[in-house]
Amino acid sequence: MATVSKHARIVALLAALSAPLFSHVALANGEITDQVNHLSDHIDEYNEEVHWLQEKFGGVVDAYEEKGKGKVDTHQLIEFWEEVNFHSAIETQYVPIYASIWQGIYGVKQAIDEGADVAKVRSEEARLQQALWQALGAVKLAAQYQQRGLVEKIQTTQSEPTSGPDVIDDIKQRLHRVVAKYAEQLHEVATTLVHETYMQRFEGIEGALIEQDAALVESLEKDFNVTLPQAIDKDAGVDSVRDVVETMQKKLDKARGLLVEAEENRKSVF
């Protein structure tokens, strides 16, 4: 995982939570209920679920340590995760950590399936546990924001962004989901999401953006159509895919600023 300072992470988290969070309805792995709009009512439940997951994941690793390669059903790791309501809470609130959880689950699973040293498996498990606790912290923070009316309700119907800056925000959310889907080992879904994001979102703003910074558009064009799909296709690993996405996010932040400025200077219709 790319190293980011604790302060930077908190700032990024707050920024993400205070922005419109999630406009997509189509989520994998279970139904998203209105529970995600009443997080504070369920914090105790989420807390219990994270402890339960910690125990279950730890149990799988313990069993591996005891029995060895080929004796443990590692698919249980995925089933445990998909069973909890906490799953949709973090998926709707903060996709980057959701991606880290999937990365952690598959990190443990693959290490066990490959017969890695127990120390290596424990290291992957620790990474997974860390992601779970981070996720719980993010959901608690989101619950506070929700109570204070500072975050938007999770949409139950799909909405379309209407302005250039809104489109950029939507693209950034979608790219987080690309990392999540890749981490979930759904590579085809991730690639399709990249393609759809380009065709349905970026393509709609790149004309306006190219008037402001042609080199930036050229660079993002390459990211959307070459760099990111290739990173997924070559199975470069979650960290590599995340690195590509984080680089794109920075370029998109710049693009957003340019579009806001262009819109301010745009002539009025009437």
């Binding site: 379309e160 380009y198 065709m199 004309g207 306006a208 190219i210 558009v217 159509n225 002539k267 219709v269």
Partner: protein
């Protein structure tokens, strides 16, 4: 390269013979209306809006709402083809939720008009539009023309054939975006104008020297970088690239009276009777809105006597083909053909 003027070409290519109102409209002109001449819009209106232009259509809609506080405008947004399908499906189910449908391409307009769901427009709306863009049941709003962006360092204008069909036999390195909707509409136009076999041969011929891009801005940028000599793209990508990069090594060429210089259009139709939907359409055809979309989105105004977008080179020397744009709705055979050949 043999070229004629756009306006003369539009008149020559006009669809007047095919349209019920054409005989009285041949030279309809006059100055476009100002928004100041229009009545206030009051009441509830639901618009289905096809996705496109990254917010500029939204700016127009916001301006109309600001000017008409008594208007309760509900907007459903989505892909144009998906919305057209929704309108048809809703009609079959006996419900009608949309009062208006603003589509970014005329092919999707055809899907709805072919089902008899669009209302006939008043003559004063139709006569505001340029000859060749006058239809009884929908109003084109703005247009975009198919062009051949070429790299000015690698190709001279004299090397570029004035026939789109001749490009299949040239040795020029070509950039294209087969998955892109505008390209598919262009191939549909070719299929209608030149026939199935000629279009198949053309696709195979071009594919020999073609480099594929995801979208048409990508094509234009590939041309500018010199990855290819020439490409197929709507006009505005090149104009916008040149606005951001004035020394870009790219310019526009046009073919002559064939699908290569097709003018496609966004279009709006009324799905309910009454003054309100029709008056809303009149707002989109005002000089203010037409000029705004020309200057900000580089779209071609289709109302008479509104200035073209700045920087559109040689547009007055282009001849679009004679084609009823609604026929572009017949996309399925095009997609089947492209898949069959392996370019899609």
């Amino acid at each position: 390269m043999q070229r004629r003027t756009l306006l003369r070409g539009l008149a020559a290519a006009g669809l007047l013979g095919a349209l019920p109102l054409s005989s009285t409209l041949s030279f309809a002109a006059g100055n476009p209306r100002s928004v100041k001449q229009l009545p206030k819009l009051e009441g509830d209106l639901t618009l289905y809006l096809g996705r496109g232009e990254g917010g500029l259509y939204e700016n127009v809609l916001d301006a109309i709402k600001d000017r008409n506080p008594g208007l309760n405008l509900q907007i459903r947004r989505g892909g144009t083809a998906a919305l057209a399908n929704t309108i048809v499906a809703e009609a079959k189910a006996g419900v009608r939720r949309a009062d208006l449908f603003w589509a970014v391409d005329t092919g999707s307009v055809g899907m709805v008009t072919d089902q008899g769901l669009a209302k006939t427009l008043p003559e004063d709306i139709i006569t505001q539009l340029k000859p060749g863009f006058q239809y009884p049941r929908f109003s084109p709003v703005t247009g975009r023309i198919r062009t051949l962006p070429y790299n000015t360092e690698r190709v001279s204008p004299a090397q570029i054939p004035d026939s789109i069909m001749a490009l299949a036999d040239s040795d020029l390195a070509i950039g294209w975006a087969p998955a892109y909707a505008s390209f598919q509409s262009f191939v549909t136009a070719m299929r209608i104008l030149e026939g199935e076999k000629a279009t198949r041969d053309w696709l195979r011929g071009v594919e020999r020297n073609a480099k594929k891009y995801a979208g048409e801005l990508g094509v234009v940028m590939g041309v500018e970088r010199g990855e290819v000599d020439i490409g197929f793209a709507n006009h505005y990508y090149t104009l916008r690239l040149k606005a951001g990069k004035p020394d870009a090594n790219v310019d526009l060429a046009f073919t002559n009276n064939d699908a290569g210089c097709l003018v496609n259009a966004s279009g709006i139709m009324a799905l309910e009777d009454g003054d309100l939907p029709v008056n809303f359409i009149r707002y989109l055809l005002t000089e203010e809105v037409q000029s705004y979309l020309a200057s900000e989105a580089y779209e071609i105004p289709l109302v008479n006597n509104v200035a073209m977008p700045q920087g559109l080179p040689n547009l007055d020397t282009v001849t679009p083909p004679d084609l009823d744009l609604r026929k572009l709705a017949d996309l399925r055979p095009t997609l089947n053909m492209m898949r069959d050949i392996g370019v899609l």
